[in-house]
Every structure is written in C-alpha cells, then in structure tokens.
Amino acid sequence: MSKTPLIQIRNLHANAGETPILRGLTLELFPGEVHAIMGPNGSGKSTLSNVLVGRPGYEVTGGEVLFRGKNLLEMDAETRAREGIFLAFQYPVEIPGVANNYFLRTAVNAIRSHRGQPRLDAIDFLTLLREKMKLVEMPEEMMARAINEGFSGGEKKRNEILQMLLLDPSFCILDETDSGLDIDALRIVSNGVNQMRSPDRAMLVITHYQRLLDYIVPDRVHVLSKGRIARSGGKELALELEEKGYGWIEDEAGGAS
C-alpha cells in the first residue's frame, strides 16, 4: 500500500439543490483499498457520489477534496472522468439512437487522448471490447443496440461495469449497483468489479445491503448518518448493521452532534 492517499475528502459540506446534506464528511482512500459506505436513506450516500463526480445541481459549501493531490472540486465533470474517476450509476440513463459500441469507443478515446495515449481504431477497440464483454457475460449483439435502450435492470448494471472495465479508472464509485439485481446478475456484476481490484485502484461501494459485501469484500465499512461518517470499522461492521439496523448508530450520531 502506497503512502499517499488516492483521494482525500476533508470536512466536506455540500447541498443538493438548496438543502444541506453533507455536513463535515472526512474520508481517505489509499490505492488498493475498497471501502463500503452504508447508511439509511437520506444520510448523504448519493450526494457524496454526485459531488465527487461533479454533477450539476450539487453545491459544495465547505471543505476540500484532493485527488492524487489535485483539487478535484475545481475540475469539470468530464475532466474528473478523464483523470480517472468513474461512477457506476444507480439508474443508468437510456440514450436512444446512439449505438452502445459507438458511445463506448468515443468515451474510451476521449480518456485515452487525455492520457496522451493513441486513439483506438475500430478494430483495436473491438478486440478490447470483446475481451471485456466476456468478463460481464454480455452478448455481442447488445453492442449494436442503443445505449441501455430496452435493457433489463441487470443488463444496464452489467453495461455500467463493462464501461468501468473499458475506461480503466483509478477510482471507482459504485452507487447502489446491487439494487434491482437478482442473484445471478449480482454474481456477474461482482465478478466484474473484483476483476478490477488492483493495488493501483481504489473503490467506494455504496450500498444499503450487506449482501453485496459478501461478493465484494471491503477493507473498511463506513456508516453515514446525517451527512457525516458516524462509525467506521472492518467488514464485520456490515454484518452488525444487518442484524441491528441503523437506529443505534443514528442515536449515537444524534447524541454527538
């Protein structure tokens, strides 16, 4: 494990629209680490992921985020993506008329150009695409279809993981990737994610349920409550939460503030 953190979030305060959601969140991830973020609805899990990727509509009101030592909050959304931050969306959007493979190649080449790597031509890209599609068990005909159009919930999530595999990010955020997945899809998605685990990469796995963490085993588990981290622990914390719910942590957090 390297000595410098990949991402440092310090005392982050942020609004979603006009509403304050994050109230002093501090978190560090080192390369190679997988952290899980759990917490009840409204605790700020999605706001955290949206703020990190620079989604419009979220306003940072205090604190800072350093990504590889650079001020992340100054970058626009596409620059953050090109710098290596990837969000697997909870609700992947459909884009009718735009073929999946065309979209993926455009994205891969945008990121490669940013890294000073040569663009991939159609043939090289297809080779790469086929290799990655196998990892998430996606049939080839899905690539000619429009982005996510008519995909099932599970197919959309697999498509997200496929994008992650292709774009080769250094920091991955998985926003409730397990929601709406059956056991088979969960296994496939988790396999894809586990393929991505490497000493150079960190992941933030946001989930409601400990079930996902049986497949993607985290190094650390954090519980978010009222916009800050109320408790951190090892993977056993997730099991404890499964048993006892969030109430006891919320009470503690409430008492502390």
């Binding site: 419009p56 509509g57 596409e78 993506a81 969000l87 735009v98 065309y102 994205a107 940013h114």
Partner: protein, 504 residues
Amino acid sequence: MSSPEMTTPMPPTNAAPEKPKANAELERLASQDYKYGFVTDIEEDRIAPGLTEDVVRLISKKKNEPEWLLEYRLKAYRRFREMLAENPAGPEWANVHYPKIDYDGIVYYSAPKQKKKLESLDEIDPQLRETYGKLGISLLEQKRLHGIAVDAVFDSVSVATTFKAELEKKGIHFCSFSEAVAEHPELVRKYLGSVVPYSDNFFACLNAAVFSDGSFAYIPKGVRCPMELSTYFRINAAGTGQFERTLLIADEGAYVSYLEGCTAPQRDENQLHAAVVELVALDRAEIKYSTVQNWYPGNAEGVGGIYNFVTKRGACRGFRSKISWTQVETGSAITWKYPSCLLIGDESVGAFYSVAMTNHHQQADTGTKMIHIGKNTKSTIISKGISAGRGNQSYRGLVKIGPKATGARNYSQCDSLLMGDKCGAHTFPYLDVANPSATVEHEATTSKISDDQLFFCRQRGISEEDAISMIVNGFCKEVLRELPMEFAVEAQNLLSVSLEGSVG
C-alpha cells in the same frame, strides 16, 4: 388542408439546477460565426428592382430565349399578379411568421459579369473560382479527386459545369438550365411545368415568371449515371432574389443521384429564394435527390437570413419508378418546403427523408406530400426535426391515396428533438384515403436531450459538445445514411456546428 391537426406544443421544462451552465455553453457556441457569410466583390450585371412585364421580357431577352418560353413566363407573370392582388401577403397557412415581402422591391436578375463566352473552365473569373474554393467546391476538373460533376450557380446564372464532356459520351445531358433551353429545347419544352404547373402555388408562379437559371439533367434510357451530379447555389448580390429552376429527367431504366448545396453571405436584410425543382422518372427509372441546405440563417437575434420558399416535386410516371428526397435543412431564416412525389405509375415508390434543424429564431414549416395514384404504390416518410434556441418548426405532410391506388402503402415516422425550453415542434399530418385496401401507418415521437443524458456522457469523459453531437447524429442517422457518402460526412459536420451546445 382541413384535416385534424396533431400539435406537439412546447413541453414544460424540469427546473433542474443544471440550466445556467448549459445555457451559457449554448450561448457561447450559438454565437459561432456562419462560416460562409463572406461577400465576393465582383462586377455584376443587374437590373433595376421591381417586377413588371418588361422585367420578365428583359430576363428572357438577356437569356436569348425562344418565344414559347417567353410566353410561358408571361402567363406565369399575369397569374402571379392576380395571386398577389388576391393575397398581398402570399400564402398564410404555414406556421411561419414574417413581415410582408415587397415583391416590387426585389432585384430579379443579377449575374457576375463575364467578358466573353467561356471556352473552358480555366477561363472562369478567378474571383468566382476563389469563391467556390472557399466553399470547398473545386470547379477545375483536373483537381477534383472524387467523381462528382458540379454545376455552380452564382446569383442568377450558372457559371460552370464540370465533367460535361465525359457525361455526354453516355448521352447524359448535364448543364445549366439556360444551356438546356438552347441545346435541348424539345426536352425542356416537353417537361417544364409538367410536374409543377406555373399556377401551382404563389412562389412557384413567381419562379415561373422570373426564374433565371438552375441545373438541367437528362439521363437517357437504360443509363446509370456514373457519378454524382450536384449543383452548388450561391447567393452573392445584395437586394436580389434567387429564383432557380431545376429539371431532372430519368428516362426508362435510368438512374441518377443528384445533390444540391446552398450558401449565402451574411446580410442584415432578408433575401428571398423561391426555387422550383421538377423531377420526372419514367418506367423503372430511379432518382435520388439530396439537399444540404445551408443558406444564411440570420444572426442570433433573428436579423437577416434567407427566406427559403421552395417547391420541389417529383413525378413517378413509369411502372416501378422510384424517387427519393433526402434533405438536411440547417440554414435559412424561414424554410417553407414540401418535396413531394406523385406516384402515378403502378408499383412506383416515393420516399422522403428529412432532417430539419432550427436554432435561434429560425422557423421551418417543412414536410412532404405523397400522392398515391397507381396500384401498389409505396411511400416512406422519415422526418427528424431538431429545435433549439427559439427555433420553431412544423412537420406538415399529406398522404393521399386515390380511389384507384389499390394496395397502396405508406409508412410515416415523425420525430422531434427539443433542446432548451424556448423552442417549439409541431406535427401536422394529413391523411386522405380513398381506397379501402390501402395501408397507412403514422408514428410520431417528441423527445428532449435530458440533463441526465448529458451528464452520463460527461461522466464517461465525453465533452458536452461531443455528447450533443453524438445524440443528434444518432437521432438523425436513419436520414443521414440515405445521403451519398461524401455528403453524409459534410451533413454531420454541419449539424454539429449548427447545434453544438444548443442544449439546456
């Protein structure tokens, strides 16, 4: 037209906090210059403004026309005067709005002065050549890399036609309309006004009186035209109208693919362009007619720009003849055009593929008419409308199945894509079916590029501009793929330039 209307009014926008940034981006990109807005300083032969019988006679005389053609013009002129008296504002049924045009204030003839008759293309005025060079159109055959024959129309006259001799070897006549009148009078006389009669409508009637030049092509029996034919229209002179006339005839079993492109300088005044295009396809002939229309659209405040009031119609006269219209309409302040097919021959096929884009204050009322007369005739309509800024556009289409058109089939699809919250899209499909065995299908959708779609693309490293361009090209691809290869690329670029960032 009095059938029920289906209107898709401007939908309410979701008040996502995204707006300000995207709007700023929109404004930045929308202010991009119209790249063809330059003026060529060239000596003109122009007549005084105004529309009189003498003007019509003068135009005819300048062009050394035969008596029958002058008579045709004069009939049209008289009919136009009647129409103008009945309705001084011109036709008002279209969903477009503009101040009344002063038809007596327009210059009806302007031509670049050339010292003598040209012996070869190398003798073209270098300034003219340069103008077409700036437009990316080389008129010199030896410099042309791909096999596309070009007729270049500058203001009122055709200045050059390339590959003429080579085409003549196959019996193909491709020349300016004026040359056709001189060299192939029998063909012009037989077909002129046979698809669009001079009295057809207000603007077609005006055109029939004062048309100046345009392109003419005749493909003889059984000949497949070996290259794309194209015409580039350029309006240069101020205060003039452009009234070109195009006539294409594909004889039995012939095939031709034809493309027209249009640009004009940037001026604060509105200029009238009222063209007529007539196509005739005989037995088993096929004509593919493609347009990339990029007349000056006016500035961001809606000042200036071309009024593009055009009548285009093709007659599938023969058995199994085919005519397809493909258009990419990105320019003009106002577009009023309905390229149509008369499906007369049994088993004839008509198609209309259209992308119309309106940004800023542009208005477009465009669509088609498919008139099924023969048995087992078939038509396809694919219309894609993109509206951004304060652009307003309407699809207006008529599918008419005559009593004898047993087994006729039509499929229509009209999709609208809205960007921002100040634009509009409307659909006016008219159906008139007089034969019970006909099958007519109509599908329509309206969509909007959402903030979520744009953000999704940006999170994958794709800039907002590229994302919009990708989504728009995806939206239009069924139409773009109908264009000849070279022009599909040109059209895609044009759409990107016209649309980049025009989303909120």
